[in-house]
Amino acid sequence: MILLQVVVSGLLMGAVYALFSSGLTLIWGMMNVVNFAHGDFVMLAMYAAFFAFTLLHLGPVWFVPIAAMLLFALGVIVYLGLVRHVARGPMLAQILGTFGLALVLRYAAFWAFTADFVSLPENLVGGTFDLGGIRIQASRLLAGVVALVITLGMHLLLTCTALGSRLLAVAEDRNAAMLMGIRPDRMQALAWGLGGASTGIAGALIALFFYIAPTVGESLTLIGFVVVCLGGFGSVPGALIAGLAIGVIEALSAYLIGGVYQDVVVYALFLAVLWVRPQGLLGTT
């Protein structure tokens, strides 16, 4: 029964991983650029939720929209100010650009908010459910369900709307899309905005039950890479399945061999997948 409980809590966390990784995979698929600051975006969203509560005295209902809008704006600004220019440059410039951004965000947070761990009050989304013997915190259940719904929404946006078709057209072939009257620059800015918003929502959800610190972004970035590589680059359904799988694997390894080794298992798995199937488990090409 405990094993089942571990699996369920892993699935709920995995849904949040899937959410911010779907933003990472969208950016990646659109323009073949990796956002090394993706986890730090999530970290900023967690602080946004925290300050919305402590400074503005807003309830948890507001956390998601506020963080989503702030991070959408950040994504667009980062694209226009930095990524648009380095994307055409050499590989080293692409890596340095977003990596430098990660350092600036992480240590600016360090400097502004100090290294102390903070957290939202535990009873903000109160209580623990008992579902047939499985005990689940309400905050984790809420986070997992909302993340799942929004990830599916992102998939529907890409596959079932005209806007999604335009985005995918640019990802497929920039020049052909231009000939069809689509402006690639706008679509890519939008992809960065959506990528930012996905981290915003994910961060606001994680903040409900997780400690907040400037350094939390580093491991989240790596988890994002693992999920995207497993799921195949550019695939939102792939990110969803891989995110859920990583959540469960992480929870199981923490339970079976100890919390300090959960990252070891995830990173080792990542390397193994890169070595055996560089295109991802569900990827084609």
Binding site: N32, L92, A93, L96, G100, F110, D263, Y267, L271, P278
Partner: protein, 327 residues
Amino acid sequence: MITPGRALAIVGLLAIAVWPLAVQDVFLQRVGALVLLAAISASAWNLLGGYAGQVSVGHALYFGIGAYAGLVVYTEWGWPPIAGAPLGVAVSATLAIVVGLPTFRLRGHYFSMATIAAAELARILAANWPLLGAAVGLMGPPRPRTIADLSFTSPVPYHYLFLAVLLALLGLTALMQRSRMGYYLAAIRGGDRAARSLGVPVLRYKLYALLLSASFTSIAGTLYAVMVGFVDPDSVLGILVSVKMIIIAALGGAGTLYGPLVGATILIPLEETTNALLGGGGTGITYIIYGAIIVFVARFQPGGVAALWRHAAAWRARRAARGTHAA
């Protein structure tokens, strides 16, 4: 022929050679030694990341192995820390082959991500391995037992030790640059597929570059452990150790001989000054500045200082040509 570039290199190296004798201040002498140490590890990274264009973000793996090797031979067998250098190089080279061979099939970002994951894996394992002192780390000899411990209060001996290693590395790099390997690496940097179609044995030469790069990074790690006398997982295996090598090389000019030394000469004094001025709280500021610098380098001048120098040289050449034309 004495070109402006060569003249500058000779003057610069001479200035570095007399620096600890010219300044009597211990802080400045220490900064000089740290510049050289950073230049060694960044030049070592440059062999793979600059010349071969394989951007590793996990070189802390080899730096950490070298650093831990230095102090493990002391804590386990009582050897002087510098005696750990061959052990560090052997372990680094072995791991370079184990990690490198499968990773080199990956191109671009995937290679960078794989190297981060490998280094993070090593950091977490070191932080939980009692032989390596787990999260607490290892200490070197508290006071020098013999001269072989290379434990000095003055930074000056370190300065010349590091300078000797750096000159050896730069000499080797210059030789490589002019050899067949230099051209092969340049072709690989231009693109795997194109290089292969020209008949370059891509995998083999990437591996040579990695072996050379990892060995010298490991030596830099051992030298760090010898000078500082203390290592822990974050200070030698943390992601910032890798990032620092990249920033220094990229600022000076990745894939150029003197780029890493130039980068270290700019960044290390900056870091030491902010740390000295702001105390412990300065670490955060230092990394904000570091991050801002690399964002700017990436955005406006991916070639670093070396590219500025080339532009200036081209401008001088044009002006000279115009001058002779007018006359």
